[in-house]
């Protein structure tokens, strides 16, 4: 009883986000991991109801989990609801992390280069093709 009580007290909120009733498996400054005696769909519904009026929340359905991401300025970054087959579901709430922000920015900056490099290659190839065509056409005219 004490364990359940302690779990429910400490597990009720993390970084301002309400948590479903469950047993805390791991807790650090950056994340909390719970085992919740509910199905994946029940927990997903719990969070959809909880966050229905909130802005900048994105839901992603991945093979192994449903990933709820905050694009706003909340202290938490994501909620991972793992797709377990059993009676219990693992839920992990992660703190907002700079590594994600920097990582995604670096990736997108590189992506801008990639887009323009592909365009550059296309232009270079078409430029060469056209110059050759014109060189071939010129003697004919003469």
């Amino acid at each position: 009883m004490l364990v359940v009580f302690v779990s429910s007290v400490f597990g009720s909120e993390f970084l301002g986000l309400q948590l479903p009733e469950g047993k805390i498996l791991e807790k650090t400054d950056t994340y909390i991991k719970l085992e919740v005696p509910k199905s994946h769909d029940e927990i997903l519904k719990f969070y959809k109801d909880l966050l229905k009026n909130e802005k900048d929340i994105k839901y992603r359905d991945w093979a192994e989990m449903t990933y709820i991401e905050d694009d706003g300025a909340r202290p938490w970054h994501s909620i991972n609801i793992y797709k377990n087959q059993g009676q219990t579901t693992i839920v992990q709430v992660n703190k907002d992390k700079w590594s994600w922000i920097i990582g995604t920015l670096v990736l997108r900056y590189i992506a801008v280069f990639v887009v323009l490099v592909i365009l550059m290659i296309a232009l270079s190839i078409s430029g060469q093709v056209f110059s050759r065509l014109f060189k071939e056409e010129e003697p004919k005219k003469v």
Binding site: D71, I101, R108, V112, V115, L116, L119, M120
Partner: protein, 381 residues
Amino acid sequence: MTYNEILDLLRGTLETTGIWHFQWNVIVMWLIAFFFLYLAVVKKYEPLLLLPIGFGMFLVNFPKVPLMGWTEEGHGELLRIFYHYGLEWEVIPCVIFLGLGAMTDFGPLISNPKSLILGAGAQLGVFITFTGTVLAGFTLKEAASVGIIGGADGPTTIYLTQHLAPQLLGANALAAYSYMAMVPLIQPPIIKLLTTEQERRIKMKQLRPVSKREKIIFPIVCAGIIALLVPSVMPLMGMFMLGNFMRESGVVGRLSDTAQNALMNIVTIFLGVSVGATMTAENFLSHKPLFIFGLGMIDFMVCTAGGVITAKVMNLFLKEKINPIIGAAGVSAVPMAARVCQNLALKYDKTNYLLMHAMGPNLAGVIGSAAAAGMFIAMFN
């Protein structure tokens, strides 16, 4: 008529005036509006946009004016209608891109495709400012919309901001156009700081002539590649390339002429006044616009530095060196940034004409900032 009736009548009449509902904060907004009108009229800084923006801002900051609200029947008032159909529906920035496409000669870019790299390098500030904006307490979407200011592309800034953080539209648009107008002041010190005099004197080989066929094919190839890689930005780039195709094909002179003149002028009026109308005292007077102006300045500086540094890095690998000054033109701001590069190069060598060389990265900057905007849209969709 009794005394009370007269008093009631007077009071009723007074209540319909703006004086009765006057609040001090509108005076602050008038001053801000006058400042931008001053920049447009006296200093001639981006007058085509700062003038309607400033006047729109002035008009909506009077109590009880039926301009940006909703009627009792639920219809929008005049400027609300412009804003709703023009900006909320994201129509105007795309139509402006159509006109810009019809005005643009991509010859310098086609003849020197390497300049596309400079356009990408100059997006550095967009991503660095994003980080700073998040640190300042903005949401990720707001940070993306502030970051794109450094791309120095007004319609792209407006398009992205409307898409991700419409509450910042006025401040972002103002910052973008103000700093674009100040490119001649912002860029030269950064270029000088990052280059040696010897580098600034580098003369570049004359660009090869570009055939009509290449110019016709360019918008098709460019639209196809961007549609495949960054589809989210195609409303902008698709219109841009359509406008350019109309121009280069030479068979729809009337349409091309309309797109680059009459249509462009009409939508510019609606764009400016709608953006200005979003800046009511209750929306604008907070710490955020101040941050946006501060971060926007840093953004422009880092983007300029990004372009110059990219040019210097490219020179490590290139046999025919490029003048790193033209890297600064990668921030877009067509054609002012290219002119700044030309003027700076002429200071060090009276025979070094860089304008056409700088136009390449300048146009690449337009594509680069649109690509960066597309990356942000994709990030949040």
